[in-house]
């Protein structure tokens, strides 16, 4: 196995496990964004540039942004009580 693919797969493995085991939702959103970037790198090493572009656009930018907005929405009504 070429070392790039092994390293990328191992990083994805560790990143996914870290994202799942993170406690607070805010930190999980940031970890999800980092994990999306690692997945994009893995897809590039697997000769799939289309998929890497799509994954970076969606999994690094849009989904963590929506998660952060949801977390904020769920926290803010409590501030007034």
């Amino acid at each position: 196995m070429t070392p790039f693919i092994v390293v990328a797969l191992t990083l994805v493995l560790l990143g996914g496990t870290a994202t799942v085991l993170t406690g607070q939702p805010e930190r999980q959103a940031v970890m999800l964004s980092v994990y999306g970037g690692l997945l994009g790198v893995l897809f590039m090493t697997l000769s799939a540039p289309d998929v890497a572009l799509s994954q970076i656009g969606v999994g690094t930018a849009i989904v963590p942004l929506v998660v952060m907005l949801t977390i904020r929405r769920m926290q803010s009504p409590r501030r007034g009580r």
């Binding site: 693919i5 191992t10 999980q28 697997l46 799939a48």
Partner: protein, 116 residues
């Protein structure tokens, strides 16, 4: 070691499911679902890979069309998979916001009553 990629894909799916089961917060469960879905992307792309093969893109003077490329069909399937999973995640988050509005809590252990 030649099956390492498939093992990583299976591990991601299982650890995502573990995250959903032990979540204390609906948003946490949705993020773990996204991790589990990413395991399927890794599986699809690993099935289509070939050692030393190029991406399935050609341009006439530089790379002539050849069959020594990775499989484009699984890449197309993964693209569709990414789109659908992003939209499903957004829909689930919208529903989680509605649940929080109506019941005030997002702990899955507390949300166990079906109200008509």
């Amino acid at each position: 070691m030649s099956h390492y990629a498939y093992f990583v894909a299976g591990w991601l799916i299982v650890i995502g499911a573990l995250g959903i089961v032990r979540s204390r917060n609906l948003v946490q469960a949705i993020v773990c679902l996204a991790v589990a879905q990413s395991g399927t992307y890794v599986l699809l792309l690993s099935v289509g890979y070939q050692w030393g093969a190029a991406p399935p893109l050609f341009s006439e003077p530089a790379t002539k069309p050849t069959l020594h490329v990775v499989d484009p069909l699984v890449q197309a399937m993964t693209l569709t998979d990414i789109v659908v999973s992003a939209t499903v995640t957004s829909m689930l988050l919208a529903i989680a916001i509605q649940i929080h509005k109506r019941t005030g809590s997002i702990d899955p252990d507390e949300l166990d009553a079906l109200r008509g």
